[in-house]
């Protein structure tokens, strides 16, 4: 069902900035080392926290003995789980599985009773320096009763598997099982020309911004309030989380997020260290600082799915049915939103393809690995990889060209808005045109001959295609994940503009994009606009950064607020210029009468509104301040007749193409070229959009080729530093060649769609397909990520 927008679609008349490649705001500050990140802040009297983590993946805590550490003169304070319980309640789950009918488990700032993963916090100390605090951990004695543990998702589902939680409701390790079933798969399969069955393992990998998490909590005993300098993507939602856990009102917490050194989901709320620094600060009345170390950041993984699928299709390549019952090994339960990725992975099938019968069931299972945390793509990246494998398998089975199989199954451009089997309402797109443009980028038509010539020389090169549908800007009902946001625009008496918004930037530049919208709407210079984000006492209520939402929610809200200011300026300027409002043009800091040389400076009109409120500006209400919310259309939370909801307003899409060469001796994959056609509707700043795609695509390269949160058999993390968690380096990869297609969203004011998450799944999918194309002559098939040498060699060996 389409919902008409109550807002006019018009964009400002003079696009000096919207659609332009304006530079990042305050770029010179970053480039000269003046930007302050959380670790750069020095608050008077700061003391430092370090946490002791469990060395066992599963154990009962018999006793924590803090007597030795407390005798050390360097120890300012120390807590175990039972003591911390006196100061803090369980951390509210950012997205609780219980809201969707799943299970819940209390998560505390320090574990009590038992630990369910290696790395879980069992005690914490505070000392004058971080070095001292780290050293003091050796003086904490913990007595554990070691329990049997399980790391594998399928094994955790077997009868007799070790049970992680012995609290009420946990009769097994299933967190939640969610079906997305539409049509009759069995009937579709019975009537189809062919069926095929196969598996695909999408491994565990992670976000890893170069700046890790960091928190400085300060309790002011006189004001009885916290000021928290936290590297967080979501200040207002985090305030709600901490208020509940710390037994204070939200008004007693001010969160100030400084510049963030990358987020990608890692810095979403729910981490125990957030509340723990607050607890110590309240006990001590001093600022308590904790900066995450890299091995701690690497504990938090995402995406470990085992897909078992059956596809029904006809000889013409048309897919008529898909069954995919998959497990998601979400690790231990945490209060962070990670597990929700499993939900959205199920919801996103079958991406942009029309498949009449779908039987998709996701089972999220808890194991003795560390928890998931949100990661760019937020579950939607997995279905891209798997669906694109499926398309290529159908192409192989029917002998039809893989690009043609895509053409035959895509949703057509005249079918939008298109309701998917899982209830999503895809807004707009032209997938066929996107595919053609992407194929031309890397000369698909000419590749077959090159491939044959290479093979004649014993070289294995391959071409991979992946379509990517990216549902963006989610509102998940019953959780603190909102799809709307708020912006405030103020013009002061000297005509300068301050923009405050509830969305935050993790480094992406959305502050600049939103300022571009305001500058054009008001006809002022971009460099006259100051943007403030991330401060819960100053900024209007908002949800921060996730789900490609900054322009969709905060940007459109700023447009509405700026229009409110413009209306006042317009009325007063018309009076001053003795002209009709319809004839006024706002541009370059002036309001002029079209077709004449009559004009007035905007700053002068602003001054009049503040100083002549009872005279010249009598017809408007001062001051020049406006706060507006933007709720995008197309979100539907009242379930339809089948119980389905529609949590996303916009659906960006992309087609990724990759050329690889596989060395069949060593298993090494060389990514030689990579291109992507990206369509996220209207772009406020194409340079920022491209930057998002470059970064996301290269994360996808890492997902496809090298990054892996590998565990040892004893439950410890094998990839616990950058020497073993291998991200892509500049000399290993080619340029990401981006082209745009613009299909505006009919459901958002500026026609924008989400950008930022697209790229991870599409790039990985294209590479995995390219690897399979390259090794096809050997008879081998790679049924997993990543295509790192060890897994490629295993696939080649299996075929021998």
């Amino acid at each position: 069902m389409s919902v008409a927008s109550p807002y006019p679609k018009a964009v400002p008349e003079a696009n000096r900035y919207i659609g332009q490649r304006s530079r990042k705001l305050k770029g010179d500050q970053f480039l000269t080392g003046k930007t302050e990140y959380v670790n750069d802040l020095e608050l008077l009297g700061t003391v430092h926290m370090s946490v002791l983590r469990s060395p066992h993946p599963h154990a009962r805590i018999r006793n924590v003995d803090l007597s030795r550490v407390r005798q050390d003169p360097r120890c300012i304070s120390a807590l175990d789980g039972e003591e911390a319980k006196q100061h803090a309640d369980p951390i509210p789950h950012f997205i609780s599985a219980a809201v969707f009918g799943g299970k819940y488990n209390d998560v505390r700032v320090i574990a009590t009773g038992k630990v369910t993963y290696r790395g879980q916090i069992v005690a914490a100390v505070v000392a004058p320096s971080r070095g001292d605090a780290d050293a003091l951990l050796d003086l904490i004695d913990v007595d554990y009763e070691v329990l049997p543990f399980v790391l594998d998702g399928d094994e955790a589902l077997e009868p007799g598997a070790p049970l992680l939680y012995d609290t009420e409701g946990w009769e097994d390790n299933v967190v939640i099982r969610i079906p997305f079933v539409e049509g009759d798969f069995d009937a579709a399969a019975a009537g189809a020309d062919h069926t095929l069955e196969d598996t695909f393992y999408h491994h565990r990998y992670s976000t890893q911004p170069i700046e890790t998490r960091g928190y400085i909590a300060s309790w002011d005993p006189r004001a009885e309030a916290y000021t928290l300098h936290f590297a967080t993507q979501n200040p207002h939602p985090l305030r709600w989380v901490l208020s509940a856990a710390l037994r204070v009102s939200e008004a007693q917490i001010r969160i100030i997020a400084p510049t963030i050194g990358g987020g990608f989901g890692l810095k979403m709320p729910g981490h125990p260290e957030e509340g723990l620094t607050c607890v110590f600060s309240r006990i001590l009345g001093k600022p308590v600082k904790w900066i995450e170390e890299r091995d701690e950041a690497l504990l938090l993984g995402a995406r470990e799915h085992f897909h078992r699928f059956k596809v029904a299709f006809n000889a013409d390549g048309k897919i008529v049915g898909l069954r995919n019952h998959f497990t998601a090994n979400v690790g231990s339960i945490s209060a962070c939103p990670g597990w929700g990725m499993a939900f959205l992975a199920g919801l996103s099938f079958p991406t942009g393809y029309k498949i009449p019968a779908t039987d998709v069931v996701v089972t999220a299972v808890t194991t003795n690995k560390a928890p998931w945390q949100a990661a760019r793509g937020y579950g939607k990246e997995g279905p891209q990889i798997v669906m694109e494998r499926i398309i290529d398998l159908v192409a192989e089975a029917t002998g039809i060209d893989p690009a043609e199989v895509r053409r035959r199954n895509f949703i057509n451009k005249d079918e939008f808005p298109y309701k998917t089997n899982s209830g999503l309402n895809i807004d707009s797109g032209d997938y066929h045109q996107a595919l053609e443009t992407a194929l031309k980028l890397l000369d698909y038509d000419g590749f077959k001959a090159k491939q044959a010539a290479a093979l004649a020389e014993g070289r294995h090169i391959g071409f991979g295609i992946a379509f990517e549908l990216t549902p963006e800007s989610a509102d998940i009902p019953g959780t603190i994940v909102g799809g709307y946001d708020t912006s405030t625009v103020k013009m002061d008496p000297s005509g300068k503009v301050t923009l405050l918004t509830g969305v935050t930037t993790p480094g992406s530049g959305n502050d600049g994009g939103i300022a571009q919208i305001v500058a054009d709407t008001l006809g002022v210079d971009l460099d006259g606009i100051t943007v403030i984000q991330g401060d819960t006492d100053i900024c209007p209520y908002g949800f921060g950064n996730y789900s490609g939402r900054s322009m969709v929610s905060g940007g459109n809200a700023a447009l509405l607020a700026a229009r409110d200011i413009r209306v006042k300026l317009s009325k007063v300027a018309a009076f001053m210029l003795e002209a009709a409002e319809d004839d006024l043009v706002f541009d370059q800091g002036k309001i002029s009468v079209a077709g004449t040389d009559k004009a007035v400076a905007i700053k002068d009109v602003a001054n009049v509104i503040y100083t002549l409120a009872f005279a010249t500006a009598h017809m408007v209400e001062p001051p020049l301040e406006a706060t507006r919310v933007y709720k995008p259309d197309n979100i539907v939370h009242f379930p339809d007749e089948k119980g389905r909801i529609q949590p996303y307003p916009t659906y960006s899409n992309a087609v990724h193409v990759a050329i690889v060469e596989v060395d069949t001796e060593t298993g090494k994959v060389d990514l030689q070229r990579f291109g992507v056609l990206h369509d996220c509707g209207n772009m406020i700043n194409p340079m920022f959009v491209e930057g998002q795609m470059h970064g996301a695509a290269v994360m996808g390269f890492g997902a496809a080729l090298s990054e892996e949160c590998k565990y040892n058999a004893d439950g410890s993390l094998a990839a616990d530093r950058f020497k073993t968690y291998m991200m892509q380096r500049a000399n290993e990869i080619p340029m990401v060649e981006v082209e745009h297609q613009v299909t505006p969203s009919p459901f958002t004011l500026l026609g924008v769609k989400g950008a930022g998450e697209a790229g991870v799944g599409g790039a990985a999918g294209a590479i995995i397909n390219a690897v399979n194309d390259a090794i096809r002559p050997t008879g081998a098939r790679l049924r997993r990520t990543p295509a790192s040498p060890i897994h490629v060699l295993a696939a080649l060996k299996e075929a021998q």
Binding site: R21, E36, G261, G262, I291, M687, G691, M699, F722
Partner: protein, 161 residues
Amino acid sequence: MSDTIHIELTINGAAKSADIDPRLLLVEAIRDTFGYKGTHIGCLTGDCGACTIELNGEIEKSCLVLAASADGGEIRTIEGIAPDDGGLHPVQQAFWDEYGFQCGYCLPGMLFAALDLIESNPTPDEAQIRHAISGNYCRCTGYNNIVTSIQTAAQRMAAAK
């Protein structure tokens, strides 16, 4: 407490001295003892490059150097790249114009690698640029615009000679 050791350094042209813990890493001394916070910490294992500085004319990852061993050294940090009379160095300017960074955390490594490369090779090609920055991780840009920024900087600097 352990005994301290006295060190004297020049940082961005200014004479500095302090009595430090001999276990202190150079990155910790630069940031915490001397207050140059533009040098960042990303991994402390020498893998990410966010702590890159110039020590006696050579670029170094300052998490891999003990502060005590740098005694007497001449250091340049990211704060010391721009010319003294204000404005930006052409490499910094190119990174801004070409959107060569997003969150900015990796900039110490990327800028010093770029400066070092262009000094020894004023007309680097893409492969040479990628090799030059391969010791530094960037998680935001996919390196695309960093490569472009360094190409632009090199061209502008060559044209200005």
